[in-house]
């Protein structure tokens, strides 16, 4: 049994960075406010790295998202493994050309001559009243693209393990952090090593209904467990962890077992990642399902500011319980 350490997501990611940078001098960090004199990034997740590894390896950049991702891509082509922070997920939109047209496609377009082993860390998530342009969940945009892996861990141990894997992965990875997951404490084995990308985790085992979820929504699903139990519903929670390429095997096995599936995500429901997962389940398991797959996601509007509206925008534990009861009925 390895020793368990108590830490939050920020500390877990920081621990992964320190380990990765010690082990491999090719690992670099860049982003706005990233070095220690500027605070170690917007959530302080990169704190201590520039002091420890030097500002040649850990560089604060201008507010130039295209230049940040471009520099990461070029350094990767030059043999390095850069970890770039895009302060907030909405700001990836101004670097979309670099991410989508270049980082994600250079391996294919070059017929395998080139690879772009970059990790892009970015923060998002509603619940802090940051409204329309600072908290969208855009994982579906990136999951739609070929050539980039999309990761969204919900526990500190997974954050550490998945971050270690992203850094060493030969392909570009988008690592999504949320306020809720970063600040939630949890246990991390002292020797927590890399966790394979593309593998979901059955966070809670159950027999009546499968709930597929990820990121902060996993925590909201956990919050529904007690009420589900009181209603006599045994829920299996599958934390997808990697959105693309996603773990069909684990999801389909759980869906086949329970016959009732709900997909809950913070992203807008329409055309969201849940649609792809639901369609696959219907294609693969049509005859074995007891009910059509249910999708829960945000309504198709900008993230609202007013607290009552923001609460209504998010998929809350109560919504999950209500949807589960409907699936059981």
């Amino acid at each position: 049994m390895s020793v368990m350490l108590q830490m939050n997501g920020i500390q877990a990611i920081n621990a992964a960075m320190v380990e990765a940078m010690e082990a491999d001098p090719k690992v670099l960090v860049l982003g706005e406010d990233i070095a220690d004199p500027q605070g170690g990034g917007v959530t302080g997740t990169m704190k201590g790295l520039s002091t420890r590894f030097g500002e040649h390896r850990v560089r604060t950049t201008p507010i130039s998202e295209q230049a940040i991702i471009g520099a990461a891509i070029g350094a990767a082509l030059g043999g390095y493994k850069p970890v770039a922070e895009i302060m907030l997920m909405n700001f990836t939109t101004v670097a979309m050309d670099m991410i989508f047209n270049h980082a994600a496609k250079l391996r294919f377009m070059s017929g395998g001559q080139s690879q772009v082993p970059i990790t892009i860390r970015t923060l998002t998530g509603a619940g802090w009243q940051t409204a329309g342009q600072h908290c969208d969940h855009l994982e579906g945009w990136f999951a739609h693209a070929a050539g980039i892996k999309v990761i969204a861990a919900s526990s500190p141990a997974d954050m550490k393990g998945l971050m270690l894997s992203c850094i060493q992965d030969p392909d570009p990875c988008l690592f999504i952090e949320t306020g809720m997951t970063l600040f939630s404490p949890g246990e991390v084995p002292a020797d927590q090593g890399p966790i394979p990308l593309g593998k979901a985790k059955v966070a809670v085992s159950g027999s009546d209904i499968t709930i597929v979820t990820w990121a902060a929504q996993t925590i909201r699903c956990m919050m529904a467990l007690q009420a589900l139990g009181e209603a006599g519903i045994s829920a299996e929670i599958v934390d997808l962890r990697t959105i693309s390429p996603w773990d069909k095997e684990t999801v389909l096995a759980s869906a086949a077992k329970t016959g009732r599936v709900m997909i809950a995500h913070e992203a807008v429901r329409d055309f969201g990642p849940g649609a792809e997962i639901a369609a696959t389940i219907h294609e693969e398991l049509f005859g074995q399902l007891k009910k059509p797959v249910k999708r829960l996601g945000a309504p198709k509007c900008a993230v609202p500011f007013a607290k009552v509206l923001e609460d209504a925008y998010l998929v809350q534990p109560d919504d999950i319980v209500a949807a589960a009861k409907a699936l059981m009925g």
Binding site: Q66, A67, A71, L77, N101, H102, S110, S114
Partner: protein, 331 residues
């Protein structure tokens, strides 16, 4: 322009090297257009005809391990850098022996072995990535330099401004080489660009910037010499605006309706390639026979490459699942 009277001048050997690179570009361009006309190649093709002096002179100063990031109009840049012609032809023919296994095509042709790192179809995007390669060169402690090629139109896109600012701040060994051919697609320079000279934009980023006659090997030679020396010495980037003219429109098939016929004719009458040939002979650096031989050898190399491309097999459908990630995608 070459304001320095003591500016370095190309000697006979340098002029011959620049000429040889120009001939390879021009003969190769001609062969591609002929093959397209005959229906042997189907591809979007953006000719660099008329712009040969720029990459020919720059490549004269580049080592094998120096790198370039170029654009859709970039085959002239790669040929000047020394990309092998056989896999180039196989690539533009969409064949497995292409540098990119036929998966990139002329707009995304790369060959890292000869330093052709990125070819982008997105206006302006060569520059931010060149910075990263420059950063890597610096971290390696090497003297490598990186050239980012782009057009005049690209100096109006955000990536240009973000990239120049970062390169200057980080003193990156990058040459920003704008091939100002007077047009962005069908739009004339002055309709799209707020400054008379793009080189003046360097001032905003605290880096040297020069407007150079991109069709004049002497002017190019002096400025590239200085810019490469500055980059290798770790002193940082330079912006070179190289004035030239696009002889064959935006892409093959362009009917020139938006161009001033007299202006175009005048520019084409000053074709830099025959001018350099005449000069080599006039200055006694080569004989007609020497140059004819040089051209014939290049034509033979191109004919061989074309044949190689034509005979190479087409890629299998399995290629759709390969190179998406390092690991092959499931069927």
């Amino acid at each position: 322009m070459a304001e320095q009277s003591n500016a370095p001048k190309p000697d006979a050997q340098a002029l011959l090297d620049i000429f040889r690179r120009m001939v390879r570009i021009e003969r190769n361009d001609d062969a591609i257009r002929t093959a397209m006309r005959r229906g042997r190649i189907t591809a979007p093709y953006y000719s660099g005809r008329g712009q040969e002096v720029i990459p020919a002179t720059i490549s004269h100063f580049l080592n094998d391990d120096d790198q370039i990031c170029t654009i859709y109009r970039g085959i002239h840049d790669m040929v000047a850098k020394g990309i092998p012609l056989r896999p180039l032809w196989a690539e533009i023919s969409g064949k497995v022996d292409g540098t990119c296994k036929g998966k990139g095509g002329p707009m995304h042709l790369t060959h890292p072995e000869t330093g052709v790192m990125v070819t982008t179809g997105i206006v302006g995007s060569s520059m931010p990535i060149a910075n990263g390669l420059g950063w890597a060169a610096k971290l390696d402690g090497s003297k490598r330099v990186v050239v980012a090629y782009f057009g005049d139109g690209a100096s109006n896109i955000g990536a240009f401004h973000e990239a120049l600012n970062l390169a200057s701040l980080w003193k990156l060994p990058v040459l920003f080489v704008c091939q100002n051919n007077g047009f962005g697609e069908h739009t004339r320079y002055e309709i799209a660009t707020s400054v008379d000279k793009i080189s003046t934009r360097a001032v905003s980023y605290n880096m040297p910037g020069f407007t150079v006659n991109g069709n004049d090997p002497d002017d190019m030679y002096a400025h590239v010499h200085a810019a490469v020396a500055r980059a290798r010495a770790g002193e940082g980037p330079t912006l070179l605006e190289c004035k030239t003219f696009r002889f064959l429109g935006h892409l093959i098939g362009d009917d020139d309706f938006y161009m001033d016929k007299a202006e175009k004719e005048a520019a084409m009458a000053k074709d830099p390639l025959p001018r350099l040939r005449a000069r080599l002979i006039a200055e006694g650096h080569a004989s007609e026979a020497d140059l004819d031989k040089l051209i014939a050898d290049i034509e033979a190399e191109i004919a061989d490459a074309q044949e190689y491309g034509a005979n190479s097999p087409t890629p299998s459908r399995d290629e759709l699942r390969r190179d998406v990630f390092a690991e092959e995608m499931p069927a």
